[in-house]
């Protein structure tokens, strides 16, 4: 059938071009380097539908007409090649896809050919991102790009991961600037569906980011959304369904009988330590056990007989209940996503339209994200010398986000992670009969029924509360990106663009009137709405010229930016009915307030790029910013960067080395700024308002004046070498030195002055490291192509200057020479084999002698390793087997420490109501005197912060597996479709860490607590192209 159509087309074409000269062309297609023939390569005459495919031997032939035709050779796994026809034979060597000779990447204020760029950029293809089943692209980044550290982020659907590019460049907010389609983006990151993203560019050095001036010292992430291309309209429908559960399991914890025995031992030992004689202590412990645990006797024997006077559980006791909080609190989340998009274009107008719906359920009931999104991106040529475009998007999302971080017991992870196993989910009477309401529903145990007072989180039951409470956040984001471009003369154009973001936020927090915290207030609701509007307008002149091998591409312009945030919040309590949650219904006003913030920039830009003979490249960029965050006399600053690059492999003397496809070196240097000083009014002496005393307005000094405060500076040097050889392998190595000076530091003041700190530009940090990317075509057989990419990052973070000798920041100590994430904690020195007490090391302040002590307050703090990994990165496999595509991403971190607080809390010394980690079973007892886990004796210092809870942060995460099946051509054409693809995806499939229950990717500073763990999502999907 197809051949008939083709024949018909040939005939039609032959007639229509009867006057044109017809000629036949033939040739063979092989793989570059190996010379293996490739069958099935599509060969099409450019701009027509005329074409053929190569046969078993890689041979093709075609009849051509017209002037200087161009043939397009394309094949999965190979780079598409376009070659002009000269003569009647055209043999082609196809280059495998992993060797991107002329990859175009998006950079600041334009695009560039990656191999010619003098700065440092890595680019992630949107198609790769789309393989992740997440609402927020930041959660996909870890392991995809060298030198980029990303946390795992909260498992709550829609939440962001934290991103750091090439180390930690400031003591404050070191997150990069996010640019969407050319303009800094102020909307929510979860408003951008992954299916709309064409590419993500990560700009890493100052010469690349300097055009974003005083906002870009932490690096820049440029998101480019999809656009249409000339050609027939395409329609693409994608549907997927997935299920989610915990990617990080809970810690191993003790059972009910173990728990009672352990607590008995704790009470007994505490009594003995307090002077009670051991025999009395034994019987007192048996008697008091149930009462200190709040009257919870999970056994069918009297309270005093649960654990006998030898500390053993009563052998005749049978459990009355054994509810699992884990099983009851956590659910299997469901994920449903549908996107439909269409793109195409004529000579003059191209378009991309997209719409999508996402419903992503979390793993706690009542935790989810629903999102509707749409985008229209249209570009048109108005006159031969005027073109314009507009890219509009809208995203409405609704998130239900129960408390899932912090030390509130309503946090399901905190609650279920720490509650002792003896406490039931449901309400049981003394006989172990579950209690029900009138409708027969099981009642929840809030820790107070039947004269009990649960020793853990009394009057709370997250399961009972979550279903009645509301924490609902609506985020509506609209973006506009538009431009008009005038070609004024040969090479000279003028471009005016406007980008605007509108972000409306509406949050509702409701504590229900029946249970938990809201009960005291007959229910309480808090409403918050924010309206953010920001715009950037720029006017740029561009000039491109060339003469005798020299070419110059220059740009100059003006830009202004304005950001406005309005907030309104109110809280009321005292609801009459449990169904009502809005403020109108509540009788008692609590707090309310509103505010407006403005932040503005005015800037001038210059960009010059030069190359000679496509061998030497040079660039110079500059931006001057006036920034409203600073005082008038400190407001203006200029930032600049320059770079050089030399493609050595283009030199004559290397032409004989055919194995070497590319060899290039580059270097760049630049200076830029970071204005994120925490306040929009960074220089003013201020009193905060709203500190009212009943009906009298009150204010309180909140900020000391700092008239000379200015932005942080970054000096960054980048040097790189890049090579591609044998058409199969690539290597890209970059070394960088980043010096951050004038760091905005909350310089500690003696608190007795009334302020604990004053902002000042005083500290200095450096990050020195390398990024390494290796690519290889491992296997290139006829039906199996396997590409392997490895990226690695390493850096040393170092404090070079501080306002005082040392500063304690939580469990870190900042000192010159140390990094900002070097742990400084009490050193665990084992267990006293005589007493079972914890030993800590100390250094005598006078003599300098070291020793051990059982007194925590005498323990000395020492440096105990860094939270920063030695090496981090990812391994990405792309395998094509027949019609299957498989990609496997492994992300990893090697080295570094994490303070495993989740574990620490479970290693207490008999805290009533709190569960134990199973490691406690190997604690010190007189019989187990060599144990390295201290005795249980009620000493609250036992599990205080120390090196004992610092754990190796190395991990390997099987982050993403995606298997796709492309239906064969024969099936598709029968169905009259352009393509069908079935997909199976698994995110966060497996994680290897030092301890079960620990997620070392949770934070950058090596902290880990009770948080919404990452979720594992398994999904299936179908992608139909019409």
């Amino acid at each position: 059938m197809r051949n008939i159509i083709l024949t018909f087309l040939f005939v039609a074409l032959s007639i229509s071009v009867a006057n044109a000269q017809i000629k036949r062309i033939s040739g063979s297609v092989t793989t570059s380097g190996t010379g293996v023939p490739v069958s099935g390569v599509s060969v099409v005459v450019k701009g027509t539908t005329l074409g053929t495919v190569t046969n078993q031997d890689g041979y093709y032939q075609l009849n051509l007409s017209g002037d200087s035709p161009v043939l397009v050779f394309s094949y999965i796994g190979m780079k598409t090649r376009e070659l002009p026809v000269e003569g009647s034979i055209l043999d082609v060597a196809m280059i495998p896809d992993n060797v991107d000779v002329d990859e175009v990447v998006v950079v600041a204020y334009g695009t560039t050919v990656k191999n010619q760029f003098t700065g440092s950029v890595s680019s992630i293809d949107g198609a790769r991102l789309e393989q992740f089943q997440t609402a927020n692209f930041t959660k996909a980044l870890q392991g995809l790009s060298a030198g980029v550290l990303a946390t795992s982020g909260s498992g709550q659907p829609g939440e962001d991961a934290d991103i750091r590019i090439r180390g930690f460049s400031t003591f404050g907010d070191a997150s990069p600037l996010v640019v969407l389609d050319g303009f800094p983006y102020d909307g929510s990151l979860s408003a951008l569906p992954l299916s709309e993203i064409e590419s993500v560019s990560i700009l890493k050095d100052a010469s690349a980011t300097v055009l974003y001036g005083s906002r870009a010292a932490n690096g820049v992430i440029i998101i480019t959304t999809k656009s249409g291309t000339k050609g027939p309209s395409k329609l693409d429908l994608k549907v997927s369904y997935g299920i989610s559960n915990r990617a990080i399991p809970d810690y191993d914890k003790v059972t009910v009988p173990e728990y009672y025995e352990l607590q008995w031992e704790g009470i007994r030992n505490a009594l003995v330590a307090g002077g009670t004689n051991p025999d009395d202590a034994n019987s007192m412990a048996s008697q008091q056990l149930i009462s200190v645990l709040g009257g919870y006797n999970a056994y069918n024997v009297p309270a005093g007989e649960v654990v006998d006077e030898n500390g053993a559980i009563n052998p005749d006791a049978e459990l009355l209940w054994n509810d699992s909080w884990q099983d009851q609190l956590f659910v299997t989340g469901q994920r449903k996503e549908v996107t439909i998009n269409s793109s195409g274009g004529t000579d003059k107008t191209t378009y991309f339209l997209s719409g999508g719906m996402l419903d992503e359920g979390g793993i706690i009931s009542a935790s989810n994200l629903k999102r509707f999104s749409a985008r229209a991106n249209i570009k048109t040529q108005i006159r031969s010398w005027i073109n314009a475009g507009i890219n509009l998007s809208g995203s409405l999302s609704e998130q239900n986000y129960p408390v899932s971080s912090g030390s509130s017991y309503l946090n399901s992870f905190m609650f279920s992670g720490l509650i002792a196993p003896i406490y039931p989910v449901y309400l049981y009477n003394e006989k172990g009969e579950v209690q029900t309401d009138a409708e027969g529903n099981k009642l929840f145990d809030f820790g107070t029924g039947f004269d009990r007072a649960r020793a853990f989180a009394s009057n709370l039951n997250p399961l009972g509360t979550i279903t009645h409470d509301k924490r609902e956040y609506k985020k509506d984001v609209f973006t506009l990106r538009s431009f008009i471009n005038f070609e004024l003369a040969e090479g000279l154009s003028f471009n005016a663009s406007v980008g605007a973001d509108y972000f409306a936020y509406s949050g509702l927090t409701h504590q229900n009137m029946k249970y938990g915290d809201g009960q005291n207030f007959n229910g309480r609701s808090a409403r918050q709405t924010n309206r953010m509007f920001s715009y950037t307008a720029n006017q740029l002149l561009r000039y491109v010229t060339g003469f005798g091998g020299h070419s110059v591409n220059a740009m100059a312009g003006h830009e202004s930016y304005s950001y406005k945030l309005n907030t309104l919040a109110a809280t009321r309590s005292g609801f009459p009915f449990p169904e009502l949650v809005e403020l109108d219904a509540a009788a008692i006003p609590e707090k309310s307030g509103s505010s407006e913030d403005n932040y503005r920039l005015e800037s001038y830009l210059v960009k010059v790029e030069y190359d000679y003979d496509k061998r030497f490249f040079a660039s110079f960029n500059m931006r001057a910013d006036g920034n409203s965050r600073f005082a008038e006399n400190a407001r203006w600053g200029s930032f600049w960067g320059m770079g050089l690059s030399w493609i050595i492999s283009h030199e004559e003397f290397l032409q004989d080395f055919t194995a070497l496809n590319l060899l290039r070196i580059k270097a760049s240097y630049g200076e830029q700024g970071n204005d994120k000083v925490g306040s929009y009014y960074g220089y003013q002496g201020l009193y905060k308002t709203g500190v009212n005393n009943i009906d009298f307005p009150g204010i309180l000094a909140s900020r000391l004046p700092t008239p000379v405060l200015t932005w942080e500076s970054l000096n960054s040097l980048n040097m790189g070498v890049e090579a591609e050889f044998l058409n199969r392998y690539s290597i890209n190595f970059e070394y960088y030195i980043r010096n951050n000076s004038d760091l905005l530091f909350e310089k500690p003041l003696p608190p007795s002055t009334g302020f604990t700190s004053i902002d000042a530009n005083i500290a200095e940090l450096s990050n020195v490291g390398f990024d390494l990317e290796l690519g290889g075509l491992i296997l290139n057989a006829k039906n199996v192509v396997w590409n392997l990419d490895l990226n690695l990052g390493h850096f040393k973070n170092k404090i070079k200057e501080l306002p005082q000798k040392s500063i304690i920041s939580g469990n870190k100590l900042w000192q010159e020479g140390a990094s900002i994430y070097d742990f400084w904690v009490e050193e665990f020195a084992g267990v006293d084999s005589e007493t079972g007490k914890t030993l800590w090391r100390y250094t005598d302040a006078d003599t300098g002698e070291k020793g051990v002590t059982t007194s925590y307050s005498k323990a000395t703090r020492y440096y105990a390793g860094s939270a920063i990994p030695d090496l981090f990165g990812g391994i990405n496999n792309t395998i094509k087997i027949f019609d299957f595509d498989l990609s496997v991403l492994l992300s990893f971190g090697i080295g570094g420490k994490v303070m495993d607080s989740g574990y620490q809390w479970l290693m207490h010394s008999g805290q009533y109501g709190y569960s134990f980690h199973r490691d406690i079973l190997d604690r010190w007892t007189p019989e187990n005197s060599q144990a390295i886990i201290p005795a249980i004796d009620g000493d609250s210092y036992t599990n205080r912060r120390s090196s004992r809870f610092l754990t190796d942060a190395s991990y390997f995460n099987l982050k993403n597996i995606s298997l796709g099946y492309n239906f064969p051509e024969a099936v598709i054409s029968k169905l009259n479709l352009a393509g069908i693809k079935l997909k199976f995806t698994a995110d966060n499939l497996a994680l290897a860490t030092a301890r079960k229950g620990l997620d070392p990717q949770f934070s950058l500073d090596g902290s880990y607590g009770k948080v919404y763990v990452p979720i594992r999502t398994l999904s299936v999907g179908v992608d139909v192209q019409f």
Binding site: N520, P589, G626, Y680, I694, F696, I699, G754, S940
Partner: protein
């Protein structure tokens, strides 16, 4: 040429020119320091901010043991033996004397809280004279309020961070500031700190007397408050005559509360004739992070929910007279398990977390005067004063005289009973050079850990916060308390 024209036209259309004001932005929920001291109203706003800060929640929203001066008052009570903590929770570490070293949270909290008051008070004191106003009276009144707050803060600080005045006059106290600065001052001696306090209070009294204004609100320091503080200070300095005089003057115009009034829950300033207190409303309450959350059994807070119940001391209970209405306020239903439920602080009947907070009342003044009179052997008047109070507290008439040798200890016992839970016991132990004895009572050794301490133990003193030592070039490790 046409292209050039296009160029000019296009750039003219699109180029946006920005005015100078474009980069000038101001906050809407803050006000610049220059704008504040333009009027007496502006200065009063600072005083009211301080008064609110004294009962605000600090730290993050999950930090429930930092709610202003009453949090410190609770710590002071927990240094003693009259309040019993049943379970280890918030304030458990304070009760165990485990929250007092340089890296613990409590010393830093107290330090920053009171020095923040001092900073803001100093700003008022130093700017008020330059404020353009017709009313010297208003200015005098404002300055007196600020001086009183400054004296109150230094007095609390010096009692927390050093032993009592007597016998320690030359030991290091706390740094003194009367001006805004970013340079840390050295620790002044205890006597220098007390001199500052007494000077401020005398000046405050003078200015209050001069202005003669009635205070608009129970929270704003007034003449009686300045005098009352002066009496407290004199008591610590063992200046008995001054203590007696000041205390007597301070409660002038305030009647003692009746037994019925005493039983209303200490939650409403309109019911109990307080001299100084902090009114709270539902909008400004700090709920779980509040005095009532931690000590009141009648509302659902940390105490009421059984997370951290505070009992009345069995030893003190046993020393109370059976006809004492204050004894009747202690519920003995669970005495077998060692639980004695005090209903002194009970907001459950007519209030909730919006319960008001007491800072000073005439009964304390009476007790100061009685003690001072007994100290100067004016036993007749001391006895009269004790009787005056007991008549208001006992169901049956009280005996009219006490043997001279036991009168002082009766007055001191009365002080423990009457002022239970009002932030005095720990300071009284220090002032009276007594140790802590929690044995033979209902303190649980597992929870209390510390069952007894000798008099003038270093455990009674907070250490200077490490962050102060780190940032203050005038205070080094060698200046640290033991």
């Amino acid at each position: 040429m046409k292209k050039l024209f296009n160029l000019i036209l296009i750039i003219a259309v699109f180029a946006t020119s920005c005015s100078d004001e474009f980069l000038e932005t101001i906050p809407t929920n803050e006000i610049s320091d220059q704008a504040v001291f333009q009027s007496v109203e502006g200065a009063q706003t600072v005083i009211d901010g301080v008064l609110r800060d004294m009962r605000s929640q600090h730290g993050n929203e999950d930090q429930h043991d930092q709610f202003g001066v009453k949090a410190i008052d609770l710590c002071v009570d927990l240094m003693g033996e009259d309040m019993v903590v049943e379970k280890y929770h918030w304030f458990g570490a304070d009760y165990r004397f485990e929250n007092r070293t340089e890296n613990d949270q409590r010393p830093l909290y107290a330090w920053t809280l009171f020095y923040r008051i001092i900073y803001n008070a100093n700003e008022v004191i130093n700017h008020i004279d330059d404020v353009a106003s017709d009313s010297e009276t208003l200015k005098a009144d404002l300055k007196a309020q600020a001086l009183t707050l400054r004296a109150y803060s230094y007095f609390q600080l010096v009692q927390l961070f050093q032993h009592t005045y007597s016998g320690h006059e030359d030991e290091p106290g706390v740094p003194l500031y009367t001006n805004a600065t970013t340079e840390g001052n050295p620790r002044s001696t205890v006597s220098e700190v007390y001199t500052r306090i007494t000077t401020d209070l005398s000046e405050a009294v003078r200015l209050f007397e001069e202005s003669g204004l009635q205070q608009k609100h129970i929270s704003r320091p007034a003449l009686s408050v300045a005098r009352g503080l002066a009496a407290r200070v004199a008591l610590v300095m063992e200046d008995w005559q001054a203590a007696a005089d000041m205390a007597s003057k301070a409660r002038d115009g305030f009647s003692l509360m009746t037994a019925a009034e005493f039983s209303t829950g200490f939650d409403n300033y309109t019911q109990q004739n307080w001299m100084w207190g902090m009114e709270v409303n539902s909008e400004q309450s700090t709920t779980y992070a509040s005095w009532f959350s931690h000590v009141d059994w009648t509302i659902g807070g940390y105490c009421g929910y059984g997370l951290s119940p505070k009992s009345f001391s069995l030893e003190l209970f046993n020393r109370m007279d059976n006809s004492d209405v204050r004894k009747e306020l202690v519920d003995t239903s669970f005495i077998e398990s060692g639980r004695l439920i005090p209903y002194k602080f009970a907001a459950g009947n007519d209030k909730g977390f919006d319960a008001d907070l007491v800072l000073m009342r005439p009964e304390e003044m009476l007790l100061i005067e009685a003690e001072a009179r007994a100290r100067i052997k004016d036993f007749t008047n001391a006895g009269k004063l004790l009787k005056e109070l007991r008549d208001k507290r006992f169901d049956e008439p009280v005996s009219t005289s006490w043997p001279e040798e036991t009168l002082l200890s009766e007055i001191l016992l009365e002080r423990r009973i009457e002022l239970w839970g009002e932030g005095f016991r720990g300071f009284d132990l220090k002032r009276l050079k007594l140790g802590v004895n929690r044995t033979n009572s209902n303190h649980n050794p597992v929870v209390a850990k510390v069952m007894s301490l000798p008099a003038e133990s270093e455990e009674f003193i907070y250490q200077i916060p490490q962050s102060e030592i780190d940032a203050n070039s005038n205070i080094g490790e060698e200046d640290q308390n033991l």
